[in-house]
Structures are given as C-alpha cells and as structure tokens.
Symmetry: none
Subunit: 204 residues, 4 copies
C-alpha cells in the first residue's frame, strides 16, 4: 500500500491518459457520469488497469483536481509575471490576472468545471486540496494590495474586495461556459466591459 502511494506520484504515460480522459468526461457530464469503465473505454484499457495507477475513483478525481489547480495557478502566475515584465503598473497587472482567470476557464472548461463548479460531495479526502483554491485567492489579494500600495486603488477591506472580484470573475466565466457557445462574438466585449465597469466602480 505504501509503495502504491509512492508510485502514485510517479509520472507515467497511462496516468496522463487516465486523468485526461476523466477530465474530458467531466466536461460534458457530472461527477456521477464519470465512471471507471468509461475512462477505461476511452483510453482503450481494461477498467482493472486503472486500479494499477490509482487506488480508486476518488484518487483519480483528487489528482485531476491537483493538476487542475496547478495548471490554473501557473496560468495566473505566468500572465502576472509577463505583465510585470512588460512594465505595466499594478492596476493593469491586476486586470491582466483577472482576464487570465476568465481565459483559463474558457480554454480549459473541463478543468474549470471540476475546480469551481462541480460539487464533489462524494469525495471526502478532497477537502485537502481546498487550500489550493485559496492560493488563487491570495494572488488576487496580493495584486490588490500592490495596486493599493502604488496608489491606484483606495480600499478599506482587501479581503472583501478580493472576494467581490473573485465572484465577478466566477460569475462571468460560468455564464460564458454554460450559456454561450465557444464562438460567441460579443464574448470579449462582455469580459472587457464587466471588468472595466467593476474596476471603475472600485474607484481611483
């Protein structure tokens, strides 16, 4: 059992296939719809094989979440650093981060749904990862603080502001994912409009 756990971290081609299949299934279906057999069918292996790489279904989902969060955080951080490197001031860096949040959702709808929409009720040990979620939130807070420090924002409660921004971002992303096709013309307009409006509201 120990050695299974150990190997669980090892990278492996089939591990990848499995979690990619699981992610794709999550895209169009809910947690209950993603079955070990469907994953197995998709990668053309027997269901038993999956148990060679993952202890059970929950372990698959857990890894999916971990990967998703890693990807998510990486996407945000990368864009932030790029923005900084471009010499943007704190406010525009913050906006860039916001846009890349939404972009992540649009580019990885499967991951986004699992990370932020799907209710993973059945999966108990998954709560551990909850703190990955707060890392993204902390990035937001940090960005806000910097904007405040640099005088672009006048804010009393950073935490509150971050929650508010986050909810706006999540609302926008999930709206775009569930009710609009991928080709919605006014998509970018809606994104820009919402973000600009909100930040204008935040003031100076």
């Amino acid at each position: 059992m120990k050695h299974i756990k150990r190997r669980e971290r090892e990278s492996h081609e089939i591990r990848r296939k499995i979690i990619e299949a699981a992610r794709d299934l999550f895209l169009s279906h809910g947690y209950g719809e993603v079955s070990m057999r469907k994953i197995a069918d998709r990668i053309e292996y027997s269901p038993t094989t999956i148990y060679h790489y993952f202890e059970n279904k929950e372990a698959v989902v857990r890894e999916l979440l971990e990967e998703g969060y890693a990807l998510f955080l990486q996407a945000l951080q990368q864009r932030e650093q790029e923005a900084r490197a471009e010499g943007l001031h704190a406010m525009d860096v913050l906006k860039t981060v916001c846009k890349s949040y939404i972009l992540f959702g649009l580019e990885h709808p499967g991951y986004y749904n699992i990370l932020f929409t799907t209710n993973l009720e059945g999966a108990s040990s998954i709560a551990i990862i909850e703190n990955d979620r707060s890392k993204g939130f902390e990035m937001l807070e940090a960005g806000i603080r910097k904007a405040v420090d640099e005088g672009y924002l006048t804010i009393t409660d950073e935490r509150l502001t971050a929650q508010s921004i986050w909810s706006m971002l999540h609302g926008l992303t999930s709206l775009l994912l569930s009710f609009y096709g991928p080709d919605m013309e006014s998509r970018d307009e809606l994104i820009s409009f919402t973000i600009e409006t909100f930040f204008r509201g935040l003031g100076r």
Copy 2:
C-alpha cells in the same frame, strides 16, 4: 398513463414530499446522483410509489424546475413591486431586484442550484423551460431600461449590461452558496459592496 397525466397538476401531499426530497438531494448532489431510490428512501416510501405521481425521473426534475422558476420570478417581481410602491427611484428598484436575486439563492439553495448551476444534460424535454430563465433576464433588462430612461444610467448596450449584471449576481450567489456557511457574518457586507461597486462603475 392517461390517469396520471390527468391529475399531474393536482396538488397532493406526497407529490410535495417527492419534489422537496428531490430538491434537497439536488442541493448537495448532481443530476446523476439524485436517484429515484434515494428520493424514495428519504420520504420513506417504495420507489414504485413515485411512479404513481410522476411519469419518470425527468418529470420530477421538470416539475422541480417549473416550481423553482415560478418561485424565483415571483420573488423578484414581488420585491420589485414593493420597491416601486415604496417610491424608490428606478436605480434603487434595480438594486433591490439584484439583491432579491441573491437572496433567493441564499434562501433556496436547493432550487438555485438546479436552476442555475446543475448540468441537466440527461434531461431532454427540460429545455422548454429554458425560456423561464430568460424571463428573469428580461426583468433585469427592463429595470436597466427604466433606470436609463429616468436618467440614472447612461448606457449604450442594454443587453450587454444586463449580461454583465447577471454574471455578477450569479458569481456572488454561487460563491456564497459553495464556499461560505449560512452564517457567514460578512455576507451582507459582501453583497452590498459588490453591487454598489458595480453600479458605481456603471456610472451616473
């Protein structure tokens, strides 16, 4: 079949129990997780009994949706009329509607999830009700138009603005539902802050 259809609309104690059980199950689970058997267990009847009152699972969900939308629209309309009766001007009426949207979600988390979060992929004939969803959206648009007409808002694209507001509301509501307990102290503060910020951003 005929005789079921005939009184499908009739009220009945057990019908109520069934859809309430279904609604509660939807609160913490997805469509696939809500099973006829679980509903039956919850109301302490045999699964067969449910089929006495509903043609199939989809019919249960359909009624749940219809009820949910009715409740939702009613809540919005009632608060709007109250606000008008109180002599509030268009802008504050609009804000009141926004707050009652969020309040509906917080008071009826089960309904909110089914109406606006859950992926009802399996349920085909449910698309019909989709247009109930747009009724809520139209209320928003109408409120915006009125605020524009009365000079409280300067807006170019009503549709875009409504989508933007809607996404903010949905984001806020689902954030509150998934990540905060019902007793979150700063809840109302977050709601007010977000709405005020956004409308300030919309300008004049």
Copy 3:
C-alpha cells in the same frame, strides 16, 4: 368468490373491451408483453378496474382463448354448413373447411397466434381449454370420414390423415402470418396450390 365466478360469465361492455385490447396486444407481442397496465391504458381505465371483471391476468387470457376457440369453431362450422347447403360434395366441403381455417388465421391474426402459436407456459389452468382445440381437429376428422364414405378418398388411418392435413394448414397459415405482409399478391395462389397439391396426393 362464487359470485365473482358467476358474474364472470355475464356479458359486459367493459369485459369486451378488455379482451379485445388483450387480443390486439397479443397480435404484435408475446404473452409477457401483454400487461394489465397496457390493457388498462388501451381501454382508458385504471388497471384496478380490470380486476373487477377478471380474477387475474390468467383469467383474461383464459377468456381470450375461449372466445378465440368459439370464433374459430364457429367460422369453420358456418363455412362447412354453407358448403353443404350449396350442395358441394364431401371432398369440396372438406377443402372449403381447410380454406376457412387459413382464412380465419389471416382475418384474426391476434386470435390465431394465441390459439395456435403462442406458448402459454405460465398459464396453468389453461390446459382445460386444450379440448377445444381437439374439437376443431374432430371437425377435420369428420369431414375426412365423410369424404371417405362418399368414395372421394381412400384412406387407411383417418387420425393420421387429419393430423397431416392440420399440420399443412397450420404451416401455411403461420408462414403467411409471419413472413408476408397482408397484401402479398401470390397469397391465394399459394393457398390453393398447397391445398390442391396435398389433396391430389391423398388420391382418389
């Protein structure tokens, strides 16, 4: 229980509807496919109502069989008497009976299937009716005897001959019912050809 049995014989409009519905369902489906609920749906009554007229499903089938046999025998006898009245000689009377056997099957495919094709395994008390089946067989035997008596046939074993004829008739009918649509052009040709061939074979 006694009085139920008694009333079971009474004619009644709904009784008729029930067994007609059952018969129609038997046409296109097997015994297992004919359910009390489907019968009830078809006549637009509740399933419970059927139990007012019949003790159980088996009783419905039993009556269906009785009626079917009555109809069957009546059809045969009527044509036989008509043929006799027309002054046909015994041989042609016999052929007429044969043709009316086939015609019954083609005109009442539902009844024919229940009477002669469907395996009524589940229905125990139905064996009683078995002797109705032999009545039809006896008509055949009687017809043969008469043809022999009148010198149209030279036959050693009447029983054997009757069985032989019967099997030919059943084969022809069920072939026509299962593999040909109702509009098969060469239908009558096949019937005539087979009967004529067979009787020619029986000889003088």
Copy 4:
C-alpha cells in the same frame, strides 16, 4: 466495450453455458420471458457476469440465432450430401432434405422455436440474420430445380412450390413440437405420410 468486442467470437465455456441456458429457456418461453436474471440463475452465476461475455440481451439472442442457423444449415447440407453420396436420385435427395428439416426441429426444439416460431420483436439488429433463413429456403429451391431437371418433377413455379413445401415442413414440425411428447409412437409415420402425400400430389 472494445475488449469485449475483440473476443466476442472466442469460444469460452461460460459463453456456451449462457447460450445453452438461453436456448433452453426459449424452448418453453417467449422472448420477453427469457430474462438475463433467469439465465444467470440457471447457470448459477450473477447476472452481471453475463455482461462480461455479451454486450446485452440482444447479443445473446443474436448469437443464439447465428448458432442455430449454422447448425440448421449444416444439418440440412450434411444429409443432402450423404444422400447424394449414396447415389439417391434428385427426388429422394429432396425428400431426405425435407426429413432432415423436421428432424432438426425434433432434435433441437429450443433452436427450432427461436429460429422459426418465436417473435423476436424486441430485437432490432437481428433482422440481419434473416438472410440465413433464406439460405435454407434456397436449398429447398435448388433441390426442387434439380428434381425438375432430372425429370422427376413437372413444375411451373419453383418459388411457389418451395414455399408450399416449406410451409408443410414447418407445420409438421411445430405440430410435433407443441402437441406431442417426444415419445409419440406414430411420429415417424406422420412425417413419412405427410411428405409422401405431398410429393405424390406434386406429381410425376
């Protein structure tokens, strides 16, 4: 699914048990009566196990049909070749084929019922096999043609004649199967008598 398909053709002890159980159940019951659970009970495995070997119920029936037809055609062809090898002339070869048709039914009542009596309404993709049925019919036609060519038969319509013979054979077989025990003494007599009579009727 893939891996099941891949070895669907492979022989396997349990596959055999399953289709034999299904065949036996078909003997005394209709399509609707033969359930996966009953099959499972009969072979003393769990119902789930059957799905390890067959995709679904229809696949079981399909294989049953394929096997049945293969056995049927083989039986007919073998006897025909034997008869030819024995130097019988075309007429007697034809009669031999006829007798082996009936014999097949008597020796394999389960198969016979599925192939020629049971209404497989529920099973859609099964129609494909329908053309196996016509192969048997074609053997009959070919035999007739040969008998005509060799001057044993004078016939105008081969197709009609074949249908006529076929219906006689089917009638005889199903009569023997449903209404007589396997030990009926006069069985062979009835078979011979009917065939002889019919062919005598066909003439020269």
